[in-house]
C-alpha cells in the first residue's frame, strides 16, 4: 500500500510540479494498438548538465490518442519546450504539433517478435522551426515476465532551413512485470545523429538508466526514469516521465 502511495505521488509530481523537460519525446513505443481505447498523455523530460547549453533543457508533450482498430493507433500531440541560451532560459513555447501513427503488423504473440511501424509528422508552430517526418521500426519480445521493446528511428527534416541528412537513433526498454502497479526496468537511448556521417561514440548521445512502469487505478499508466549520460554529447542526467490516462 505504501509503495502504491509513493508511486502515485511520484507520478503526480512528475505531471504537475517538475514540469520541465529536454529535446525529444522519451517514450519507447510498443507495436501494439488497442482498439477503441482513448488515451490522454503527458510526456516530459528535464536535463541537468554542468554545461550551460545542455542544462535545464526541458520539453513537454501533451497528446490525445485513439485506437482506430486492432492494428492502428493514432495520436495528436502538442510539443512545448524551453532551451538554455548564453544568459538565460528561453521562455516556454509550443513548438510543434505532431500527428503520430502506430501500425501493429501482427497480433501480439503470433510471431517470435511483435512487429510494428511508427509514422509521424511534426508541423512547426513557430517560424524558426522546421517540420519533420519520423519513422520507427517497433519490435517487442516477451520472455516470460520480462518484456523487451526496441525502437529504431529515422528522422528527416522538411521545409526551409531543414537539414539535408537523415538522423537516426535506437531506444530500448526492458521491464520485469513484477506487479501490475510496479514494473522495474531500464532504458537505453542512442541518438546517432546523421546516418551518413557515422559520428564517433562521444559525438553521439548515449543514455542509460533505471525506469519504473506500472498501471494504477485501472486507467492510469506511468513510466518514470532517470537516464545517465554515458557519452560526451548526452546530458549528464535526465529525468523522464510518461503519464497516461486511458479510457
Amino acid at each position: 500500500m505504501k509503495l502504491k502511495v509513493t508511486l502515485t505521488t511520484i507520478a503526480f509530481l512528475c505531471a504537475i510540479g517538475l514540469s520541465h523537460p529536454a529535446y525529444a519525446e522519451k517514450d519507447v513505443f510498443s507495436p501494439n494498438a488497442e482498439e477503441g481505447e482513448w488515451e490522454l498523455e503527458s510526456t516530459g523530460l528535464y536535463d541537468s548538465d554542468p554545461h550551460k547549453d545542455k542544462n535545464a533543457v526541458q520539453e513537454y508533450h501533451y497528446s490525445v490518442g485513439y485506437g482506430v482498430n486492432s492494428f492502428w493507433h493514432t495520436e495528436l500531440e502538442l510539443e512545448t519546450e524551453t532551451q538554455p541560451t548564453d544568459d538565460a532560459i528561453t521562455k516556454f513555447q509550443a513548438t510543434h504539433m505532431e500527428w503520430e501513427n502506430i501500425f501493429q503488423l501482427a497480433p501480439k504473440g503470433e510471431y517470435w517478435v511483435d512487429p510494428g511501424i511508427y509514422l509521424a509528422y511534426e508541423a512547426p508552430l513557430i517560424n524558426k522551426q522546421v517540420g519533420q517526418f519520423e519513422g520507427k521500426i517497433l519490435l517487442e519480445k516477451d520472455f516470460q515476465k520480462i518484456s523487451n521493446t526496441l525502437n529504431i528511428s529515422f528522422n528527416k527534416e522538411v521545409g526551409g532551413g531543414a537539414d539535408t541528412h537523415t538522423d537516426g537513433g535506437i531506444s530500448w526498454s526492458t521491464k520485469y512485470r513484477l506487479f501490475q502497479y510496479f514494473e522495474p526496468g531500464f532504458e537505453y537511448w542512442n541518438d546517432f545523429s546523421a546516418i551518413s556521417h557515422q559520428l564517433d561514440y562521444n559525438q553521439q548521445s548515449h543514455q542509460v538508466g533505471p525506469c519504473f512502469y506500472g498501471h494504477l487505478f485501472g486507467h492510469v499508466n506511468y513510466d518514470v526514469g532517470y537516464l545517465f549520460g554515458i557519452s560526451d554529447a548526452a546530458p549528464r542526467g535526465e529525468i523522464k516521465w510518461v503519464l497516461e490516462y486511458e479510457f
Binding site: E34, P107, K108, P115, I195, H215
Partner: protein, 111 residues
C-alpha cells in the same frame, strides 16, 4: 556500421517471422463470452507450446480480454471472434478478466 546492423536486423526479422510463427503451435482452444461471462471459466492447456485461443464474443457488445499474467489486452467486437496467441507458457495458472465487465474472470491452467 550501425546502419548495416539495422538493415541485417530488419531483414532477419522479416525472413524468420513466418517460419518461427509456425513452429510448435498447438491446436486452437475456444473461450466463449456470453452474458458477459467466460465459458469455460478454466481452460487447461499444454505447457511449453505456442497456443492459440479463439475468443468468441456472442454478446452484441464489445469486450476486452485482459490479463496481466499473460500480458494481453485485446478488444473483441460484439458477435465477433478473435485469436489470442500465447506462450509457450510455463506450468502454472494465468488469470484473465473482461475489462469492460470486471466481474467476469477466468483462468488458463498450463500443465
Amino acid at each position: 556500421m550501425v546502419v548495416r546492423l539495422i538493415v541485417y536486423l530488419v531483414l532477419g526479422v522479416c525472413v524468420w517471422l513466418p517460419v518461427l510463427s509456425l513452429a510448435e503451435t498447438q491446436a486452437p482452444n475456444t473461450i466463449v463470452i456470453k452474458n458477459h461471462q467466460f465459458d469455460p471459466a478454466q481452460l487447461t492447456v499444454a505447457a511449453g507450446q505456442k497456443l492459440q485461443v479463439t475468443v468468441d464474443n456472442q454478446d452484441p457488445t464489445p469486450e476486452e480480454f485482459e490479463s496481466f499474467d499473460l500480458d494481453r489486452e485485446q478488444v473483441v467486437e460484439g458477435n465477433k471472434k478473435m485469436i489470442v496467441y500465447l506462450g509457450p507458457l510455463q506450468p502454472g495458472t494465468y488469470k484473465y478478466w473482461a475489462d469492460f465487465h470486471k466481474s467476469s474472470t477466468g483462468v488458463i491452467v498450463a500443465q
